[in-house]
């Protein structure tokens, strides 16, 4: 299983039965494929729906049903449509309890950066709905690979990228570890099976302590 799917599957285990959840673009969207049996969540998408369903068949696809990534979705019984201002208002005002967001970097204060990197002297690509979610959703789960393609830790002491939200992340899920973000700093809760605390320290720039119940990531 590749890193993206490891992260997505582990994120799905963080969701709580009955809650309203927004899954961001990329890895978080994949988490929708790994919901544990029996877990029932109401999925929110920024473009304006609660309770949307999985990807349709090709012939069953309806071009007026899409998620925030522009991917085809379905509208099972119980789904509800709303307009855009209402949908983002729901995010700002706390009607969504958990969001899983991808990230370029996250730091030990729980600050998430996921909307801008430097290209040709400009910040790119843009914000979309992520900043509204970071502002108003009580439980932000950052889903990202532990190290970037140059081998640098994406779990930083302090991110220097423009933030999406400051001190908003509560849980960090990577392909190597799960951290809780607490007022006292990062707490390592799980490591990928076979990895020891020292292995995580070696690939993590951020400072962290180790949870009393530290154990292997369920895979």
């Amino acid at each position: 299983m590749d890193a993206r799917h490891i992260i997505a599957r582990r994120c799905a285990l963080e969701l709580r039965d009955g809650e309203v959840v927004n899954l961001g673009i990329g890895i978080p969207t994949l988490a929708g494929n790994y919901l544990p049996p029996g877990l029932s969540v109401i999925l929110h998408t920024e473009n304006g729906a609660f309770g949307y369903g999985p990807k349709p068949s090709t012939l069953g696809a309806d071009s007026d049903m899409s998620n925030a990534s522009g991917e085809p979705i379905t509208m099972p019984p119980g789904a509800a449509i709303m307009d855009l201002a209402t949908s983002l208002g729901a995010a700002r005002n706390g009607y969504i309890s958990t969001t899983v967001l991808g990230g370029l970097e996250v730091d030990q204060e729980g600050t998430l950066a996921n909307w801008a990197s430097r290209r040709n002297g400009r910040w790119w690509p843009g914000i979309g709905g992520a900043m509204d979610l970071c502002y108003g959703v009580p439980r932000v789960i950052a889903a990202l690979q532990h190290i970037d393609k140059h081998g640098h830790s994406k779990v930083r002491k302090r991110t220097e990228l423009p933030p999406t939200g400051r001190r908003c992340v509560k849980v960090i899920v990577t392909d190597k570890a799960v951290f809780d973000v607490t007022p006292g700093g990062l707490v390592l809760r799980e490591a990928y099976p076979g990895l020891a605390v020292e292995d995580i320290r070696a690939i993590t720039e951020a400072d962290f302590t180790v949870a009393d119940n530290f154990g292997p990531m369920p895979v």
Binding site: T58, R92, N120, W123, W124, G126, Y135
Partner: protein, 256 residues
């Protein structure tokens, strides 16, 4: 009794000329007024200021053609990178994006423009989006005010000379019905345009759209134009999703 807003694409789109400040419905390639966009590209109407949520969907949604053809001088929205065509225009300096707005902020700015407000007070992004040097093309710095102990951006209303929205069905009065997530903020965009064109899949008789299903009332619409039929729109959408690998090719599906 003789209100009839149905008109030809040519007659309606004549309102859009080089340099027009234009609003358009859209969300990552969905709910786009495809026929109107194709008209703009065919007539090479450029120098546009385009107020739209995101710049289309990479690959082939109609809107990306506006960026590919270099018709957009400035984009006012939430994102610059949902299509390669828009990214290239922005990163090469050919298209201006003075700042990115959080989507909720952008939606409220449009809504404010539609309902006669001067603007809105938005707490999202304070202390982030006003960082010095973040948006070098921004003329004046973002304004904040304090209210009841919280800081808010003062976000001005957005309005346009012409708005183009995309609906499902319309009658000759300009009443528009939307389908599912293509509802977006099409009604707010309609209200914020001085002249509003609604492209629809189907034009129906007055009374066919039940009053409670009218998503955008006729008084907010000046012109109704016939776009692609719903069947054509679905077929085009399917083709695009297959091309992007988001849906399996039909032959695969039939085999499985």
């Amino acid at each position: 009794m003789s209100i009839n807003k149905v008109m030809s694409l040519d007659d309606a789109m004549a309102r859009v000329t080089p340099g027009t400040r234009l609003m358009m419905g859209e969300f990552v390639g969905h709910g786009e007024p495809a026929a109107c966009i194709e008209w703009l590209i065919a007539h090479n109407v450029g120098d546009l200021t385009l107020i739209t949520n995101t710049p289309g969907l990479r690959g082939a949604s109609p809107m990306v053609g506006l960026f590919g053809a270099g018709l957009v001088r400035e984009l006012i929205g939430t994102h610059g990178g949902t299509s390669a065509e828009a990214s290239d225009a922005y990163l090469s300096g050919k298209m201006k994006i003075a700042q990115f707005f959080p989507m909720g902020t952008w939606a409220e700015k449009v809504r404010a423009g539609g309902v006669g407000l001067g603007g809105v007070l938005v707490p999202v992004g304070v202390g982030i989006l006003d960082a010095e040097g973040l948006f070098p093309d921004l003329g004046t710095p973002k304004r904040t005010i304090e209210l009841n102990g919280q800081s808010y951006f003062v976000e001005e209303a957005l309005r346009a000379e012409v708005s183009i929205i995309k609906g499902w069905r319309a009658d000759r009065l300009g009443n528009i019905e939307f389908r599912y997530t293509s509802t977006q903020n099409q009604r707010d965009l309609a209200m914020a345009g001085r002249y509003t064109i609604a492209e629809v899949n189907e034009i129906v008789e007055v009374g066919d759209i039940p009053p409670e299903r009218v998503g955008c009332p006729g008084p907010f619409v000046n012109a109704v134009v016939q776009g692609y039929s719903l069947a054509e729109q679905h077929a085009r959408g399917r083709e695009l999703m297959i091309k992007l690998g988001r849906l399996p090719p039909l032959s695969d599906e039939e085999d499985s």
